[in-house]
């Protein structure tokens, strides 16, 4: 592995922000699959997703100094940027992005796929993997209506009303599914269940 390939994510991000061509290449190569994966999961359409992914890298470049490692990994920060941009596109076209089959495929990928986690130390990596694995396992074990509601809200950015319409249930039921589903996931992500019922 070469020099840039071994540099920490944070260094590559700082290099990108500083205008360093080689570190910028390494940054894009390291994260392009993550960013495109998020965008295409939300948008479905690869062409639109690629444009969103490009925008995400541009935002990372422009706002690299906003990244705070104490609040999460570079991967999570970049994923959040891509996700927010993708949701903006979905909302701008005023359409509900999800078809029932697509949601099933997405949930299967989220619950069965490998845990792809990068961290800056073996200890933090182990904790992150445990958290991701716990979240994946809990998502798999959620009652399907709750898992669907959480995915529709958390991945596609659908409101409770949109979920209620899509699922053919009352608004209150959709809200309850979102609430209960996310709180169960939180209990898995934070094993101590701080403040959780």
């Amino acid at each position: 592995m070469g020099t840039t390939g071994e540099l920490p994510d944070e260094v590559l991000l700082a290099g990108l922000g500083a205008g360093d061509a080689e570190l910028a290449v390494a940054f894009v190569r390291r994260f392009q699959r993550v960013v495109f994966g998020v965008a295409v999961a939300v948008l479905g359409d690869p062409a639109t997703a690629e444009d969103v992914a490009q925008q995400a890298f541009e935002q990372a470049w422009r706002h690299s100094r906003m990244y705070d490692s104490r609040r999460g990994t570079v991967r999570a920060w970049l994923s959040r940027i891509a996700h927010n941009l993708a949701i903006d596109v979905v909302r701008a076209r005023a359409s509900v992005p999800v078809a029932p089959d697509d949601l099933g495929v997405l949930l299967a990928a989220m619950t069965e796929g490998p845990t792809l986690v990068t961290e800056s130390s073996p200890e933090r990596l182990a904790v992150a993997r445990d958290s991701a694995a716990g979240l994946r396992r809990t998502l798999r074990q959620l009652p399907p209506p709750q898992a669907r509601a959480v995915a529709m809200a958390g991945i596609y950015g659908m409101t409770a009303q949109q979920i209620a319409d899509a699922e053919g249930v009352p608004l209150g039921t959709a809200k309850t599914r979102i609430r209960d589903g996310l709180r169960k996931l939180r209990a898995a992500y934070l094993p101590q269940g701080i403040g959780d019922e």
Partner: protein, 252 residues
Amino acid sequence: MSEMSEMTCAELADVAAELALGVLTGRERAQALAHLDRCETCREDVRQLMATSEQLVGLLPEREPSAGFETRVLSRLGFPAPLPGPATQPRPALTGPAAPAPAAAGARPAAAASAPWTRRLLAAAASIVVLAGVAVGGWGLGRSSAAHMASPAQAALSSAMFVTPGHRGAGEVFVYRGAPSWLYMSVDLPSGDGMVTCQLIGSNGKVTTVGSFQLANGYGAWGSPDPWAPASIDGARLVAADGTVLAVASLR
């Protein structure tokens, strides 16, 4: 217009998940935000739910974009097209003091490959503060308190942990002994908001002060190009304004 009624903690708990997921709208959202303004307990609840929602996005599978994606991204940012394959050449990397550099905050070189060191310093000054706190536990280039030499292809790159007098990890320093040489460090001390000075210790025992930077709540990052004669450095240390040695790193 009627005055907006106040939301109780129980009512907030009912919509906290939607708020954390960013899908709460209209009046409910306004009421929830107003409640959070005055309720620390509910803020923490929502913060945890937001962290969970971010983890949820992190479960999305990676996907390979179409061929040429990276070239298109880099072109969009004004960088030159990359060579095929992984970028592997040892190179002088980013540097820059963590101290504020307002004039540089918007500096974004369009074609950055030829940016001179001074320009990189200024640009990095704005971005490098984001690296605060990344070093605890090691960065993969080396996780022991001793210096770690990289593979032969990158033999000039080494790193070492900063260790406090109490033997606590306090960050990491990266050293590139190339042409030009550079030094980069991130610091994570339990506390501290003052200026710290970085000193290099030569193999002959000579101590050279190479720069100072500001810590924020114990965190800070700093770098510099070509700050010493290559191969003459045995270690680095961080010194507080009153002369106290805060941490040392052995690069032997």
